[in-house]
Each structure stands twice: as C-alpha cells, then as structure tokens.
Symmetry: C3
Subunit: 341 residues, 3 copies
C-alpha cells in the first residue's frame, strides 16, 4: 500500500503541485499525520494546521492553496477525494473467492459465480446468491433469500426467510434482517397478548449499507422496504412495514416505528425515535435524540429535547417545565390586569 503522489494524481485525475515521485504510504488527519502520509484540508477553517502538520502532502481546494507550503493535490471536493483515495490504502482483506468446505448449503439454493462463502455459513432452501456475493463466517441465510450481485455480508449476520437484498449492499456483523415485527393484539378472553404472524418479508434496494447490530423487521401486512442508497448506522431498529426513501441516512441507535414512511434524502441523527404510522417527507433532518411524534410535511430541520445543563440548573428547569401551564396562566392573568389598569 504505497503510491506516489503522481500515481494518485493520475488515478483520481487531480492536479498535483509538487514532486510526483514522493511516496505516500497512508492517510491521516492534519494534526495526526506523520511523514509519508497524505492529509486533507476539508475546510478553510482548519488552515492554521497546514503550517504545523507533519503530513507529506495535502489534498485541498484551489482557494486554500496559498496557505500551504507542502506538495498539494487540488480537488474541488476534498472529502470526495478522501473517499476515493482511501480505497487505495484500505487494508480490508479481499474476498478469497472460495466456498468453505464447512458451509451447510441446501441443494435447492442457487449460486452466481465468484462467490466467497466463509466457514460455518448456513444457506437454506431456495436461497439465491448472485455473482460476486461475499458471505462472512457464521452467517445464516434463510429460505428463499435473494442477495444481489456484489453484496457483502460480514461475519455472523442473520437473514430470515423471504428477504431480498439488492446489489452492492454491505451488511455488518450482528445485523438481523427479517425477524418478526412487534405485533400483538390483546385478547380479553385470556388477558394475554396474541401474536400476529409477520407473514411479509423485507425488500432492500441497491447500494444499501446496514450497520453492526442493526435490525430490520419483516412486515405483517406488507413488505418492509429499504430503498436504493439508504445508509443505516449501527444498532438502528426498523419496524415492520416501514418504508425508507432512497439515499436517506440514519445514525446509530435510532428507531423507526412500524408502518412509518420516511422520505428520500433525509438525515436522521443518532438515538432518534420516530413513532409508528406516520409520514415524513423528503429532505427532513432530525437532530440527535429527538422524538418524532407526528408526520412532517415540510422539509427542514427538526428537534426535540432540552439543552444539556449542569446538574443544579437542570433540576430547577425541570421543576419549571412541570409548571409551564401554570406559568402561562399567571402571565395571562398579569397581562389582563395590566390592560384593565
């Protein structure tokens, strides 16, 4: 994993100002980078770090070049360049294109070519794995699951029956796709909760990434749908029958309640709760730890919660919060008295 600046410039079609023979052996942030590493100026705000970085070369916008005495690669979008150049320095093991001898595979499963299937994987009846699919060790692939070309499942992923995953998906360890949605009906006769069988499946589009420990439930009355380009961080929970529009990104530990429809190009922060049976339009941003308790029909940024306060101030504000209705009444009373005067 060594490349010259000249090679990097050529591969990414970037202008290089500096010696093309300089060898780059890795990437790091401006303040962490050492000799041999390429770094990035993502924003002019961090310009002051250019003078004291130990990086060997910098990717930056043409506008920022004045501040830099190091060799530079000029990019209109340094973060996109980062995404591209990082692929050259990624130590991630390549698929070995082998089906491990310990794999337990049903005779009725069907396979594309150039598969990589790790040890102790179990593949049930009727499953279909397309060309180039990679299944990590210990994964369970249920009946009639379909996994599209180039998709990669890390170790220990569980996929229940009748789940479809599109092309070029990445699914991280511990993810569970297609477990039963949480559906029960209270039966007065027995004073207990009766399970509603979750008979539909999950449809996942192309270029979707699903984080470690994330769970996507199967549907009860329709499929759960994750559209193309959706990115789900770790430990996200998607309820039954949810539909998520394309290119929406949901950060870690957020949850979407059953049958909710989430638009395209939304950005959902971490720890967000979105209740069931609502609709959220495209391009909605929700900040971390907010509760979305009603439908949203207008794009924009939404939040709930209070700011972080130090202990004593917070306690007093909590007391005040409980009295807010009383506060409003008292102000109204004062105002009406003043009017009379």
């Amino acid at each position: 994993m060594k490349l010259t600046l000249g090679e990097i410039a050529r591969k990414l079609n970037l202008e290089l100002r500096g010696d093309p023979s300089i060898v780059i052996s890795g990437l790091a942030g401006l303040t962490d980078a050492g000799p041999g590493q390429l770094s990035f100026l993502f924003s002019s705000r961090y310009k002051q770090h250019l003078s004291d970085t130990d990086a060997t070369a910098i990717v930056l916008r043409e506008d920022d070049i004045g501040a830099c005495e190091l060799p530079v690669l000029i990019s209109e979008y340094p973060r996109l360049t980062w995404a591209q150049v990082a692929t050259f320095f990624d130590p991630k093991p390549l698929p070995n294109l082998k089906i491990h001898e310990s794999v337990q595979v049903s005779l009725t499963a069907s396979y594309g070519s150039e598969l990589t299937i790790g040890a102790n994987v179990v593949i049930e009846n009727g499953a279909r794995l397309d060309h180039g699919v990679v299944i990590g060790a210990g994964c369970f692939i249920g009946e009639n699951v379909e996994i599209g070309e180039g998709s990669v499942l890390a170790a220990n992923v569980s996929v229940y029956h009748n789940v479809k995953i599109g092309k070029n998906a990445i699914v991280h360890s511990g993810a569970v796709i297609g477990a039963d949605g949480f559906g029960f009906e209270f039966d007065r006769a027995t004073a207990s909760l009766v399970k509603i069988p979750q008979i539909y499946g999950v449809e996942i589009g192309d270029n979707v990434e699903i984080g470690a420990g994330t769970t996507i439930d199967r549907g009860a009355l329709k499929n759960t749908v994750i559209s193309n380009g959706v990115k789900l961080d770790n430990q996200v929970q998607i309820g039954h029958g949810v539909s998520i529009g394309s290119h929406t990104a949901i950060s870690g530990c957020s949850a979407v309640g059953g049958s909710t429809v989430l638009g395209a190009y939304c950005l959902i922060g971490g720890g967000v709760g979105i209740i069931d049976n609502i609709e959220i339009c495209d391009q909605v941003e929700i900040t971390a730890l907010s509760l979305v308790s009603h439908s949203i029909k207008q794009k924009g940024r939404y939040s709930s919660g209070t700011g972080l306060l130090s202990g004593n101030i917070w306690k007093r504000s909590v007391v005040g919060f409980a009295k807010l209705n009383d506060i409003l009444k008292r102000i109204r009373k004062i105002e009406s008295r003043m009017k009379k005067e």
Copy 2:
C-alpha cells in the same frame, strides 16, 4: 397457501356473507390489497377505503357492514381475527425435526423428543431441551440452560449458563440472554473499577417473545425474572436483577436498569429508559423516549421530553428552558408587586 372463504369462516367460526367458494391466497391492508387477498377494517375511521380497495373480501365488525359491497367475514375483534388468519398464510419454514450432524452437543445434555437443532449449534454440559424445542443454526446454549416445551430460538442466539426459558418462547436472532450485568465497584486503592461477579441467572416464563438483538443480563444478588407472556421488542436491554411482571410489552430500544421491578400489563414505548432500583406498578404506560427516573405507584400514562419543533423555534425554547427558574422568580416578583399596588 390458498383457502376458500368458506374454509376460513369454518376454521375461525365466523359468519360469512358472500360466496364460500371464493379463493383467498393472502392478506394485505385495505389500500395495498389486490385480487385474491383478504383485508381488514380495523376501525370505522377507515371505512372510506372499503369502496376503492381491490381486496377480494373483508373482515369487519357487524356495525361496519353497511359500507361494504364485498364478501365479508364478520368478527367482533378484527385484529384478533387477523392474528388467527395470518397463521394460515405464514410462509415461515416449519421445523424439520432433525438434529443437524454438525451440532456440538455435550454428553450430559438431556433432550425431549421431536427436537429441531440447526447446523453449528453448541450445547454445553447439563443443558435440557424439552419436547419440540427448535434451536436455529449457530446458537450457543450454555451449561445447565433449560428450555421448555415448544420454545423456538432463531439463528445465532447466545444463551449463557444457568438460564431457564419456559414453554413456547420465541427468541429472535442476535439476542443474548444471561450475559453479565453491569456491576463494578470503584476501588480507591487501585483507582480502578473492580468487577462484581454476576453469579445468579435468568428465569424466563412461558409464552415470552424476545426480539432480535435484545439483551437480558444475569443477576448479581438474585435472578433476573421475565414473567409469563412478556413481549420484548428488538434491541431492548434488561439489567441484572430486574423483574418484569406478566404480559408487559416493551418496544424497541428501551432499557430497564438493574434491580428495577416492573409491573404486569405495562406498555413501555420505544427508546424508553427506566433507571435502576425503582418500582413501577401494574398497568403503567410510558410513551416513547421517556426517562422514568422515579418509582410509579399509580397506573396511567406517563411521559417525558419536549415536543418536536422546527429548528429555530426549538433553539429559542431550549434557551427558555435553561431560564425556567429565572422565569418563575420574575413572575413571582411581578405578582408580589401587583399585590402591593
């Protein structure tokens, strides 16, 4: 999976108004249903969809029948009927009643009849699996674990030693039962946290469902107890020594702190946090993302948090929240001045 309306009516003992020979091949919601599908009118509020649904027949209450020109099955509780009829159309694979040859099983484990044990399952010393138990591929069943009649573990479930699971439990993939509770004591001598061994186990009653990725810790000074009929959604966390009363349902991503006692027939929303060492009585409902920071002695509905607001309004309210104590003081001052006048 095809049944006539007449067969469904007979099996569920429902009155049919329509041609009993009509074939039903699936279920769907009113607005999604197509030809051959049975649908449901769960509430009179959705009556308007009856006129334009493509469903072939409808389950509804007698009171709602006037609005419907399609064949109908009359049910006092359409949602309960849904739960029942969905079992006929569930494509979930049936247990194959085989013990896979790759299963690693201790000689001292004991077995009921008609077990289904998937590939690569590990069963440790002294474990006991009763009649009809199903263990999915890749599960780990620790020492002295007991699993009651008819219980089903999906793939990749981990059960630590000395956990008892009752009858007819359903445990979804990625669930972890019996990991150590989070117990440490700060030791001044070494300025570090000393682990408190979690020497008790977990007792789970009958008819309990445990969602994907849900974790239930073992106890330190007593068993963690999950009573009959409790339903835990995905990614729920139950701390050590917690006791949950029967038929309580907890939605996804909620957490219950150690030693807390939760009553029966409670409904806990998603993302709720319940602190440790408190008691919550029966029939308490907690709305999503609330923090329960003290015991609750009266049944009813409880909430915390602010409503969802759009960005700018929210920021100003957050400023106001921090000043609530000040607001109260200023109102009191105004009021006392007015009295003097």
Copy 3:
C-alpha cells in the same frame, strides 16, 4: 461452592465475629437471603433489614455492627468485599483449555499457551492470541487481530481485521468490534452518498469489559481508542475515531459520535447520546438519556431532558415549552411597563 465463615474471613483478611465453622453456600441481598447465605449491609440506611433477614451471616462496616445479632464479617468497604467473595460462589464454567476440533484457524495465526477455543470459531491470517485467551463458540477473529493475555470472548463475538485487544478483557456475546464507521460524503454528481473507507482499526487497552451487543467502530483517519479499565455496558455504540479515557464507565444503550474524545473516570448513564467531534474532560457524569451536544470543560454532573410527568400535565408543559421564547418576551414587556410606572 461451600465455604466456612472462617475460610472466607481468612481468604479476604477480614475480622469475623461469630462461629468460624458456619457453612456458607451462596450470597443474596438482605431481603432475599435464606439460610446458608451470606448477605451485605451496603449502607446504614438499610439497617432495619438486619433484624428480619434470613441470612446466616452479614458483611458490614464496624460502625453498623451494633444493629446486628448475626455472625458478621467486618469490612471497611462491603461492596468491594462483595466483589471478592462473589468470585468464590460464581458458577461460571471454567475454560477447558482445549482448542475444539471444529475451529477454522489460519496457518499464519500465532498462539500463546493454555488457550481455550470453542466450537466453530474462525481465526483469520496473522491473528495473535496470547497466553490464556478464551474464545467462545462461534466467534469470528479477523485478520491481524491481537488479543492479549487472559482476555475472554464469550460466544458469537465478531472482531474485524486489525483490532488490538489488551490483557484481561471481557467481551460479551453479540459484541462487534471493528465494523466500519458511518462515513459517507454526498456526491452531487450522482446525488448519492459515497462510502469513505474506514481504513484504521481499534485499540483496546487492558482490563476493559465490553457488553453484549455493544459495537465499536474502526476509524477512518485514526484508530478508535478504548483505554485501560474502561467498562462498556450492553448495546453501547462507539463511533469511528472516538477516544475514551481510562476507567470511564458507560451504561447500556448509550452512543458516542465519531471523533469525540471522552475523558478518564467519566460516568455515562444509560441511553445517553454524545454527539461527534466534541471533547469531554475527565470526571464528567452524565445522567441517563441526556444528549451531550457540546464539549464539556469542567468536571461535574450534567443532564438534559424534562422530568417524567403524567400524561395531561406533560401535554400542557409541552405546549408551554414551544412558547418559551414568547413567555420570555411577555415577561420582559411586563417588566419594562412596570418600570415605567
């Protein structure tokens, strides 16, 4: 697992007041303990339970001895004594010091002595397991992973490539270490999110405990760092490039956003969200379900959120919260009018 009081006193170097031949067969809390069990008075507040406990003997502080007629072990720190004595009564199975024949191990992996490796474990190229390491059934150990002396992984843990774990770590089932951080850049040309490869790894210090289902992401521009003595409860999420200072404890279901630096000796409650790219100094305490939305430079206790309220009061307070800016304006108006008068 039976010890006499005399043996316990000798092993822990505690003063015993009572018959040293009394046999102890277990531990329990004061109100749960039965004959043969040792219990603990953790705080003088619970003294009243000493008169009606069925425990056979009590660990307590010298100051509390007056209230107790049972045999006692005197300890300055009863909770530390609990941590020590519980190790004698822990039924946790001991490692069997065997490498199971089903283990799939790369030829280039290297091993210390006295390893225990469970069934169906997969160990990839270049991995290194030091003396006494225990790997539970079904674990995946990626390329070049290093695991230090005495560390224990429970069943079904997934460790991606280039992760280093120190000595005496405990990692619970379902944990995922080294999955990709959540890093994407929006590409206007394709109107989609481009993945930023996460090319760095994870470094975990000594004596770290990692809970069930907890996920620790690998870094994008630097390693994710978990320092010595850190304790992470279940279902915690640690973002890419995060650094956590030594002996910090994080309770269940909390999440730390990417590149955030968390100090030493912090106590983070359950369900807390800490946003990305901030710094939190040493000895900060955050209460449950708080959102930490900015850096913290002063040690102390911090909170966000409202108190728990019953449904109707809460609804009115939520209305008031949305009007807080308006409330402030109205009060200012009233005050300025009063001044004029």
